[in-house]
Symmetry: C2
Subunit: 105 residues, 2 copies
């Protein structure tokens, strides 16, 4: 699916790490929320509230998930899951385009 139809797009961006990570919030008719984001090269740590599904739309990121001591590379077309209320680390070596889905449990 290359487009999200019948959605609400929040105008203002979410800006993190001095703009090196930014995203836009998309809200679906059923209330589900996703963000479409860009990460510039850098090292980042993020915390989750809801469980997250991170789909890589372009580029790649090296990800260390909670409970792991190893970075795994995810590329365009890949998706990784992050548990709710956890932290994960990222090393981004090339511009990464992503879609994050927030999953209520």
């Amino acid at each position: 699916m290359s487009e999200f139809k019948n959605v609400t797009a929040v105008k203002k961006a979410n800006v993190y790490f001095d703009g090196n990570v930014t995203s836009r919030t998309i809200i679906f008719e059923d209330g589900e929320r996703k963000t479409l984001g860009i990460m510039l090269p850098g090292d980042y740590e993020f915390g989750t509230g809801d469980k997250e599904a991170m789909e890589i739309l372009g580029g790649s990121m090296d990800v260390k998930l909670p409970g792991s001591d190893k970075f795994v590379t995810y590329k365009e077309g890949d998706t990784f899951m992050v548990p709710a209320n956890s932290k994960f680390s990222l090393i981004v070596k090339e511009v990464a385009d992503y879609c994050c889905s927030y999953i209520k449990e």
Copy 2:
């Protein structure tokens, strides 16, 4: 208007200048197209096809419009127009969040 309702959001980002300028395309029911974008600090030159209305959602940008030899600062809440089929220059000193509307003439 802080949200766009009943729109189509294109998943993949538009990426320019090694990711220092990125945007997402939003398509309205009547076919109108806007992009929601981020510019990181830097100097940029862009060319237009359609006429553009650039609304600053956050941060600021110094803009030299076609026919001018002077940079003018536009800040959050400001909008500037760029003629169709022209070039304009930008100096961005702080992360800038914008909404660009493409106007058919």
